[in-house]
């Protein structure tokens, strides 16, 4: 074995998440204990008072996200962390944050469900809940880390996206990555780009809290600094006041979508390996991507023409990227620790280009490299 020279630190996934959040400027955390996300809360409880931030344990997950949104309106970068049952409770306020355009980050450490499910076993079954869990039409951004380092990196990015687009950002991580410890090299603070929510450049009397400045994202001053405006979960006009006027309702919902969709080109975050000449491509995310990468390398060594794609953004679904891959490949395999959620999206964007196979495991144990390799061997033409 060869030796690594740079200095690594051993961090658990949930620990790396906190490090990333603090680097991104997170100064408020509200949460409720739930396995396997509790470590995020516990470490926040330790670190935030030292960093001049605020930690609070609330009475449930609804309250947690409520407090997070409140703190964000007061100007603090805020987050919470939970798992399936708590994520279900948070759906109400995810909708509020979408509608009122309040930046916040929600970590969902996916465990097997539905209901109480398997509290300490991994799963990837909240992918569709992240997309459609709250009622009504709304865009959402969800990221999926596949390593301890990526959990740190994507937590920073979650804050950046959240601030940039004034939208809740969900980190869909599985129990494997959340509890995994890996040696990682911490990024230097100076190397990280940190984004802040846009601020108004006009005096308060000219300020329109929900007007479109062109980017689709209205500037957002914190409460208490002279810009007295109204925030509501009702459909509202450019001043934030409730409205039912058809010429105000539809433009609002369309702006909520377009502020993110106009940037789809920027939101294609993925890693790939040997996709150019692959006849079969594996599309994966989270801990399954780790197994898939190993399986694809072993298959290549056997001479099989297989490729690998790891999705780092799950929502908005990377249609452009996937379409390109589908055009190059004859077959696609989507291994997932659910009954088939991202594979539905792959099938949706696949206009008969290639055959989509799935490998679904829902017994509470991760998909292994031999399982994927076996499937790849069987799929050979």
């Amino acid at each position: 074995m060869r030796k690594l020279t740079q200095e690594q630190v051993l961090l658990q996934g949930n620990e790396a998440c906190v490090k990333g959040a603090l680097m991104a400027g997170c100064r408020f955390f509200a949460g409720y204990p739930i396995t396997p996300a509790t470590e995020v809360m516990e470490i926040m409880a330790q670190e935030l008072p030292k960093a001049g931030g605020v930690f609070i344990q609330m009475e449930d997950e609804i309250a947690s996200l409520g407090a997070v949104i409140g703190a964000s309106l007061a100007g603090a970068k805020s987050m919470t962390a939970t798992s399936g049952p708590g994520f279900s409770l948070m759906q109400e306020h995810i909708g509020f944050a979408c509608m009122a355009e309040v930046p916040c980050v929600i970590v969902d450490v996916m465990r097997a469900g539905p209901s109480t499910g398997l509290p300490t076993q991994p799963s990837q079954a909240d992918v569709m809940q992240a997309r459609w869990g709250t009622h009504g039409d709304h865009p959402i951004i969800a990221l999926a880390p596949a390593s301890v380092y990526e959990f740190l990196e994507l937590t920073i990015q979650a804050f950046n996206l959240s601030e940039r687009y004034r939208t809740p950002v969900i980190i869909l991580v599985d129990e494997v990555i959340a509890h995994l410890r890996e040696g990682i090299i911490l990024p230097a603070l100076g190397d990280i780009e940190i984004e802040e929510r846009p601020q108004p450049k006009v005096p308060p009397e000219w300020y329109l809290p929900y007007g479109d400045p062109g980017s689709g994202v209205p500037p957002m001053p914190p409460f208490g600094e002279g810009y007295r405006y109204h925030v509501t979960g009702l459909y509202h006009d450019v001043r934030g006041y409730p409205t039912t006027r058809i010429d105000e309702v539809e433009p609002l919902i369309r702006r909520l979508f377009s502020k993110i969709s106009k940037d789809f080109e920027r939101l294609q975050w993925f890693d790939s390996f040997h996709t150019d000449d692959a006849t079969i491509t594996v599309i994966s995310y989270g801990c399954v991507a780790r197994a898939a990468f190993q399986a694809v390398k072993e298959a290549r060594e056997q001479g099989l023409k297989v490729g690998f794609v790891k999705l780092k953004i799950l929502w908005p679904f990377m249609r452009r990227t996937i379409t390109k891959i589908l055009a190059n490949s004859q077959k696609v395999l989507v291994p997932e620790m659910n009954i088939g959620q991202i594979s539905r999206e792959v099938k949706r964007v696949n206009k008969g280009e290639c055959e989509v196979a799935t490998l679904n495991k829902v017994d509470g144990t991760p998909i292994t490299p031999p399982e994927i390799l076996k499937m790849l061997e069987e799929m050979q033409p």
């Binding site: 008072p49 605020v54 409520g66 703190a71 409460f223 208490g224 409730p242």
Partner: protein, 274 residues
């Protein structure tokens, strides 16, 4: 004291299209008037006041007033208020909720906000009914009363908002009706100045729905009913339990010094920084 007309110009939003959504004779407007009067008297800067509401008729109050205003989800106003206060402790955070809002769907949040003792001045406008959705019974609707969701009489028993909150540990608990405007002003003022979680239950009238089951035809009669059925805290202590049945006990129920969440947190935080 400033004239109401003057207060209107200072505190109501000129950019907001009126009229408001409340029915003629509703008590929420009386409360709003009292709140603005007291805020003006104390002299808070409008920039420092954050008014947070839940859902229901009372939930619409913040939109009309020129503060930092937040109309949240049903029952959750206190959770948002908690986040705001802790993130920016110098702000004066006020919540306005209704009875269904604060103690049915938001009951858990109310209990824990009182227990946690984050400095929030909260006002529950209790009109004994879900008004906005069409007159269903709420946790404060008396037993046996017919409403749109209890056509054969309310099968449940009501509960006492103030006593629940007092038991949960709130620093300040009081009750008034919208009829007793001078008392209401005093209690609002005390609640706003209190270091810690303060709650004032404001007994109000819903002329559209709750008047029906009380056989009171007009807002005026409902306010007379408030006048005649109210009894001060001091008097209530002297009379028997039976004599208290059906009475509205008004005045200060609890006023105590409790360290707030933020004070405690600040202490810990300062120590850790050293």
């Amino acid at each position: 004291m400033k004239e109401t007309a003057e207060l209107v110009h200072i505190y109501l939003r000129s950019s907001k299209k009126f009229p408001h959504i409340w029915c003629a004779g509703c008590g929420i407007g009386i409360f709003m008037n009292a709140l603005l009067r007291v805020i003006d008297r104390i002299g808070y800067s409008k920039d420092d006041v954050v008014l947070v509401s839940g859902i229901g008729c009372s939930g619409r109050l913040p939109v009309y007033v020129d503060f930092n205003t937040l109309h949240t989800t049903h029952g959750r106003a206190l959770t948002f208020a908690t986040g705001i206060k802790l993130a920016k402790p110098h702000l004066k955070v006020i919540t306005v909720m209704g009875d269904g809002d604060a103690i049915a769907i938001g009951g858990n949040h109310l209990i824990h906000a009182a227990r946690r003792n984050v400095e929030i001045a909260s006002f529950v406008i209790n009109n004994y009914v879900y008004g906005m959705t069409g007159g269903q019974y709420s946790p404060t609707t008396p037993h046996g009363v017919k409403t749109t969701s209890s056509p054969y009489g309310n099968p449940e028993h009501d509960f006492d908002i103030c006593r629940v909150v007092e038991a949960a540990g709130a620093a300040f608990v009081a009750r008034s009706t919208v009829y007793h405007t001078r008392l209401l002003d005093r209690l609002i003022s005390k609640a706003l100045k209190k270091k810690g979680f303060a709650l004032v239950e404001v007994v109000s009238q819903c002329p559209t729905y709750s008047g029906r089951w009380l056989d009171l035809d007009s807002p005026v009669e409902m306010m007379k009913w408030q006048k005649e059925n109210s009894i001060t805290m001091e008097k209530a202590r002297r009379i028997s339990k039976d004599e208290l049945t059906g009475k509205i006990v008004i005045g200060v129920l609890a006023d105590r010094e409790v360290q707030t969440y933020h004070e405690r947190y600040q202490q810990v935080s300062e120590k850790l920084k050293v």
